[in-house]
Amino acid sequence: MKVTSIEALEKIAKEVRRGIIEEVYNAGSGHPGGALSCADILTVLYFNQMNVDEKKPNDPNRDRLVLSKGHASPALYSVLARKGYFNKELLQTFRKIGSNLQGHPDMNKVPGVDMTTGSLGQGISSAVGMAIASKMDKAGCKVFCILGDGEIEEGQVWEACNIASKYELDNLCVIIDNNNLQIDGEIEKVGGMNNITEKFLSFGFNVLNINGHDISSIIDAVTTAKQTKGKPTAIIAKTIKGKGVSFMENKAEWHGKAPKEDEYKIAMKELED
């Protein structure tokens, strides 16, 4: 069911963030920073924008989402659980032996996961393949792909953009989670990634710059992307790594580590309704 009120969506996003912290805390490992930064985007997509039905996770006509930055899996799992694809209790098993919630998403293990991802730069190519297939079949499926801003240092991303443009994939919308940090620090200093807008423009994309934590801006941008004809859209979403948990915000060190018990308690308190 589509959630339309901004307030309700914000509430869900907060719940999703609590799920992320629970998952990573219970696992004792994982990637909270980049999961928290794309929590609002994923919430809007699954609860407001995508044509999906949690009761029919394999419906061929559904819209698709490829989490190319697969390490943000706790965010995707938290959204899928909240949406009802699987029992929320399962979030406690994240990364544990015997669990279907692998460190990085596995499409064969988790209902609602449309593509197995984890190795950076690869998901966008799969998304391009999906968008081409949907066009071949005149199926009308929209394909969304979430990329990290560090991830776009991978050359394969630009190979994929080239073909997305060649085939005029207006059913493809890539969203760059532009939190400005990668493991070793700021993206401009580590990989030299700059002028992201110009890069996507030169690859033939329709480019939209938004605040990736502002629910109504995300809704507007995705709506525009869906209406754009003849070219793919790139939404460059300015975000904050670790968003919602004060001590994690804008800290590269929270890319890939779990909170300790006291930190967990503070985080959960900050994310209370």
Partner: protein
């Protein structure tokens, strides 16, 4: 054996076109090499089901993966060096791990690429591909066998790798032979008990030539055409080892991790006999004519014969 020759890449292109007519889910991808991989035949007939990604093999594998999630049966082609070498991790993580229905048909494998030299002579592909869980690995020896294999891998619901060659090789089989082919089952040629020569791809014809020469010298060997490298046909290997006591493997591939290794793995665990591995030793290739290179690296009929002299 007739002296009519044909490259397995040509057989691939022809069968792809045929399959395309039968099944509209067949889609073909190439990376700017369609005239060499022979996917151009399909492209001409079915332009709407042909995707040329340009010189970007990693992206090609990912696109193929995405297409397969919509029920398409993508055949992704380029030279073996780039399909397996450059795009290895994409094949591993985006295709083999999620067990997606993508067929990787790589041409220009092995030393017989010839004049282009070491950078284009893929000698490690069988090892890399057979090391991947979920991956079926085939390496075919002639025209009809290749056509049969293309059809077979299209039937499997999962990833498959088919190794093809640039060089023209002799026709070995006729239509009646093909009826008996089975995926995962090697083909025994001859009943000799003096030794077993196990070959795959373009070395099968050389092994058969050697078998005939040896016969004139009173040495009776059998040849096994191992068209499926994974799953390997354990049964035929063990039977031959027991009946002939001597196993020689010949491959247009590194002696590390290829056919010889796969055969050795079976024998060392279940029936240890000495395995003589003929292939490219632990070195890179070099320029030359295909036939010259087979001679240089001792994987031609004469080299096999010399093992007995």
């Amino acid at each position: 054996m007739e002296e009519i020759k044909k490259a397995t890449r040509d057989s691939y292109g022809e069968m792809l076109l045929e399959l395309g007519k039968e099944n509209e889910n067949i889609v073909v991808l190439d990376a700017d090499l369609s005239s060499a991989t022979k996917t151009a035949l399909f492209a001409k007939e079915f332009p709407d089901r042909f995707i040329n990604v340009g010189i970007a093999e990693q992206n090609m594998m990912g696109i193929a993966a995405g297409l397969s999630t919509f029920g398409k049966i993508p055949f992704a082609s380029t030279f073996a060096m780039f399909a397996v070498g450059r795009a290895y991790e994409q094949v591993r993580n985006s295709i083999a791990y999620p067990k997606l229905n993508v067929k990787i048909c790589a041409t220009h494998a092995g030393i017989t690429v010839g004049e282009d030299g070491a950078t284009h002579q893929m000698l490690e592909d069988l090892g890399l591909m057979r090391g991947l869980p979920n991956m079926t690995v085939m390496s075919t020896s002639d025209d009809l066998q290749t056509k049969w294999a293309v059809r077979e891998i299209a039937k499997i619901n999962g990833p498959a790798y088919l190794r093809l060659c640039r060089m023209k090789t002799p026709i070995i089989y006729n239509e009646k032979d093909v009826e008996k082919f089975e995926l995962g089952k090697g083909i025994q040629i001859g009943k000799g008990t003096d030794a077993t020569i196990i070959a795959t791809g373009d070395t099968v014809a050389e092994a058969i030539k050697a078998k005939e020469i040896l016969k004139e010298h009173g040495i009776n060997v059998r040849v096994i055409d191992m068209h499926t490298i994974k799953p390997i046909d354990k049964e035929i290997i063990l039977k031959s080892a027991k009946e002939t006591k001597r196993i020689i493997t010949v491959e247009d591939h590194s002696i590390i991790n290829g056919l010889g290794t796969a055969v050795s793995e079976v024998l060392s665990e279940e029936y240890p006999v000495k395995v003589e591995k003929m292939g490219i030793p632990d070195v890179f290739g070099r320029s030359g004519k295909a036939e010259e290179l087979m001679r240089y690296f001792k994987i031609d009929a004469m080299a096999i014969v010399n093992k007995f002299m």
